[in-house]
């Protein structure tokens, strides 16, 4: 688990360095994910240790959003002032995005022959 965690942190660190060095508009962890993905393809597999740690972290991915979400208390005045546009915008836009993405992807998948 420690070895796997080290791998994840090293890729994140490399990602951060790449972002700063190349002035990319993307956060470091996303670049780290891309680099790890490429590495896994090149290696042709995932070490069992890494697979277990990654699965464990991702199983409770939603926990990791709790601290940022509690930040709602620091913005209560703006949120109560503008709650109507914010709420309607978030709900409509999010559900529309789910629908549009799914419809476009299904339509395009249906146009190609099935099978791998």
């Amino acid at each position: 688990m420690i070895a796997a965690l080290t791998v994840l942190l090293v890729y994140q660190l490399v990602g951060e360095v790449v972002v700063v060095a190349l002035r990319l508009p993307v956060p470091g962890p996303v670049v780290g994910m891309a680099l790890l993905f490429v590495t896994l393809i090149a290696r042709g597999g995932v070490a069992e240790d890494l697979r277990q740690t990654a699965t464990g972290l991702l199983r409770h991915l939603s926990l990791l959003f709790v601290p940022a979400g509690v930040g709602v208390m620091a913005h209560l005045s703006r949120l109560t002032h503008e709650w109507l546009p914010i709420t309607i915008s978030l709900v409509l836009s999010t559900l529309a995005t789910v629908a549009v993405t799914a419809i476009v992807m299904r339509a395009l998948l249906a146009r190609r022959p099935p099978g791998q």
Binding site: V66, S93, A102
Partner: protein
């Protein structure tokens, strides 16, 4: 609170231990409720945890910064968790290659829909400029969205809240939208959830299946990339035109 208890509280709240432990305890409690309710989407564990923690902090008069001093250790794990998404992604490599073109098109359509509709609706309903700027990248995972907004002069912490709210809305309502559209393919379901509702949608997608989760994680990463490029361009365009 009773006097000695208050003293202990004051002592403990000065260390990260208390709020780190409370965050984990509250989340476990919320998850237990969620599981007991048969993973009902309305009892989303993130939403439950936030409500309980905010209530607790307000009751004890604890400022958010004090809380975050402890909770930042959980927050930090978002980075390695984002990197870890490469693992389930790699497991879906075959399906991914097969669906490359539909994925790219769906991603672009979804990312543009998310940006334009969020800003458009909020603007039409009279939201302030600062809110508009902070709400635009709401479908992108927290670290990316905060980074983008910070660079453009919005409020990163407000964005974090809006991003988490979006995730909860997507995780709660996404299932009903997908069911209504009769989307049965787990890859498509996951991809739509990840595009609209980033990591919280992905967490929800993993509960449907491993495949849905992997596609959701892919969508979350790609949507972050696309928005990180599209959004600053859009802001530049709007500012140049007005």
């Amino acid at each position: 609170m009773a006097e000695p208890l208050a003293e202990i509280w004051v002592y403990l709240s000065a260390t990260p231990l208390l709020f780190l432990t409370l965050t984990l305890l509250v989340y476990q409690g919320a998850y237990w409720i969620y599981r007991r309710a048969g993973f009902h989407p309305l009892l989303n564990p993130v939403a439950l945890s936030i409500v309980m923690l905010v209530a607790l902090l307000r009751w004890t008069g604890t400022p958010y910064d004090t809380y975050f001093g402890g909770a930042q250790f959980v927050h930090f794990l978002l980075g390695p968790a984002t990197v870890a998404l490469a693992v389930p992604l790699h497991a879906q490599l075959g399906k991914l290659k097969h669906a490359l073109w539909p994925i790219c098109a769906a991603l672009l359509a979804g990312a543009v829909t998310a940006l334009v509709s969020a800003v458009g609706v909020a603007w039409a309903l009279g939201a302030s400029d600062l809110t508009l700027l902070s709400i635009a990248p709401k479908s992108v995972t927290t670290p990316i969205a905060m980074g983008i907004v910070e660079r453009l002069g919005g409020l990163p912490s407000l964005t974090a809240v809006l991003v988490v709210s979006t995730g909860i809305i997507g995780a709660v309502g996404g299932k009903y939208v997908l069911d209504a559209l009769r989307i049965t393919d787990h890859g498509v379901r996951g991809f739509a959830l990840g595009t609209a509702a980033h990591g919280i949608g992905t967490a929800r997608a993993f509960q449907e299946s491993e495949e849905a989760g992997a596609f959701s994680g892919l969508a979350m990463g790609l949507c972050g990339l696309v928005t990180a490029v599209l959004f600053p361009l859009g802001v530049w365009l709007v500012r140049a035109l007005s």
